[in-house]
């Protein structure tokens, strides 16, 4: 089966800083991939490039064989590190916004997820706590029937209870025909759901392995391998 995501020799530069250096990556359908790296390693940059928010200096990115552009915005569901909602919105407005713009938005699934996440539709987005806001953003992202889901730090800065709830929701509501890329540096909490992991360091792909291979070949958990790779 052809890859959902193909990243080919992508470079990205911010001024003098090389954020991504010749990054190549293929992601097959039906995979949950951990994009792991320390702060500033290039995880968010790679995700924003795939989502079409940034443009590569060189190289190419394709989603289901299509170059990044208007068409791929219908195929990619991105949960970035900042809210996709606006201050004036209530939870129901955020749902309506997604329903209005994304043909693949499943409103029934969204309501099911809201219930699972303990979110009320008449709550103001600006009144939600960080953890509840993360839950809402995840609900919006996963309620689409996209081919590729990108979750940028979905459990960053939330308490362990919310963290568990978010991970449960990812596993429960993730569409198995699609691929899911989750960026994080909180590896220990999340490694149980990964099929494969990509280690990214100083803008370069350092390692791309199946989780099982890491366990069998190196005799380590993903968290242990992460600590070894990023040891200072």
């Amino acid at each position: 089966m052809s890859n959902i995501l193909v990243v080919n020799q992508v470079n990205k530069v911010y001024g003098r800083k090389q954020a991504l250096n010749n990054v190549s990556l293929n992601i097959a359908p039906g995979r949950i991939v951990g994009l792991l790296g320390s702060n500033g390693s290039g995880k968010s940059t790679l995700m924003k490039l795939v989502a079409g928010l940034l443009h590569p200096a060189s190289g190419s990115i394709q989603v289901t064989g299509k170059p990044i552009g208007l068409e791929t915005k219908s195929l990619v569901s991105f949960m970035p590190d900042r809210p996709l909602t606006e201050k004036w919105m209530k939870v129901r407005d955020a749902i309506a916004y997604y329903r209005d713009f994304y043909a693949d938005f499943d409103e029934e699934k969204a309501r099911e997820m809201l219930e699972f996440m303990n979110l009320a539709e008449d709550e103001r987005v600006s009144h939600l706590s960080k953890g509840m806001n993360e839950r809402l953003q995840l609900t919006l992202a996963l309620s689409r029937k996209a081919r590729l889901y990108l979750l940028d730090e979905p459990i960053g800065g939330v308490d362990p209870v919310a963290r568990g709830k978010i991970l449960d929701a990812i596993v429960k509501f993730y569409d198995e025909d699609s691929s899911l890329i989750i960026s994080t540096h909180l590896v220990n909490d999340i490694e149980r759901i990964f099929d494969e992991v990509v280690f990214i360091r100083e803008g370069k792909v350092f390692m791309h392995e199946e989780v099982e291979t890491i366990r069998l070949k190196h005799g380590k958990s993903v968290d242990e391998m992460f600590k070894e790779v990023y040891a200072e």
Partner: protein, 247 residues
């Protein structure tokens, strides 16, 4: 695009409503508390002009926010729609303001001055066609200015540095001067927007005359030239927003 427009309005709804309430309060206060008719009229007119400027600024801010916001950049909507939505937003708000002004004038004329509304349609030497052409031409000038500002904002957006806004301002100044220079070279200064209106001050007060738009002496030429330039700028805006502007 209509959906984008809906969300532009929903985001700005409270501001627009607050602006409308302030405008009504100001006009009511002028009518009730200012005894001098001329002073009240001038201040009232200034309040409308202020509201118009505020709408224009809101439209520019809406565009700037939209090209920089994740939730707008991620939706599968064409670059042209992203550009047109704030323009239509501004145009509808402007038309709303004109309508409010028109109703105000009608009320003022019938209730305070005890005039018949038909006097507005029976002004010597001014035809409806002239008024319409003047309004359309003024609308075009505002639209063209808006496109140039949007272009400058998009240019600024292609730079990640803090100097981005300054680059946008410089771009706008260069564009304005380049346009003026080109029009002077090509059309030998045959037309100036100043020709549209004439203000004359006499001992009895200030009179204002709209000359209308006479489509002669190169005026068609400059307008067609500006339209061609506007099309080019729109293409540039869409290209930059799609390929260069980063969030």
């Amino acid at each position: 695009m209509m959906t984008l427009l809906k969300y532009d309005f929903r985001r700005s709804w409270n501001t627009l409503l607050a602006g409308l309430v302030i405008l009504i309060i100001v006009q009511l206060a002028l009518t009730i508390f200012v005894s001098s008719g001329v002073t009240a009229n001038v201040l009232g007119m200034m309040a409308y002009v202020g509201a118009g400027v505020a709408i224009f600024v809101k439209m520019i801010k809406t565009y700037t926010a939209n090209i920089r916001s994740y939730n707008r950049r991620l939706i599968p909507v064409t670059g042209l729609s992203h550009m047109l939505s704030p323009i239509i937003f501004g145009a509808l708000c402007g038309l709303g303001l004109l309508l409010i002004g028109f109703v105000h004038v009608c009320l003022y004329a019938t209730l305070k001055l005890k005039l018949s509304l038909f006097v507005f349609f029976d002004v010597p030497n001014i035809s409806v066609a002239e008024v319409m052409s003047t309004l359309l031409f003024t609308g075009w000038i505002v639209l063209f200015m808006t496109i140039m500002i949007f272009f400058s904002i998009s240019v600024a957006g292609t730079f990640r540095w803090k100097t981005g806004p300054w680059i946008g301002i410089v771009t706008f100044i260069v564009l304005i001067n380049l346009l003026s220079w080109l029009e002077n070279i090509i059309f030998s200064g045959k037309f100036s927007p100043n020709d549209l209106f004439q203000f004359t001050e006499e001992s009895t007060g200030i009179s204002f005359t709209a000359n209308g738009v006479i489509w002669a002496d190169g005026r068609w030429g400059t307008t067609v030239f500006e339209m061609a330039l506007a099309a080019l700028l729109v293409w540039g805006i869409i290209y930059m927003n799609t390929k260069k502007v980063e969030v």
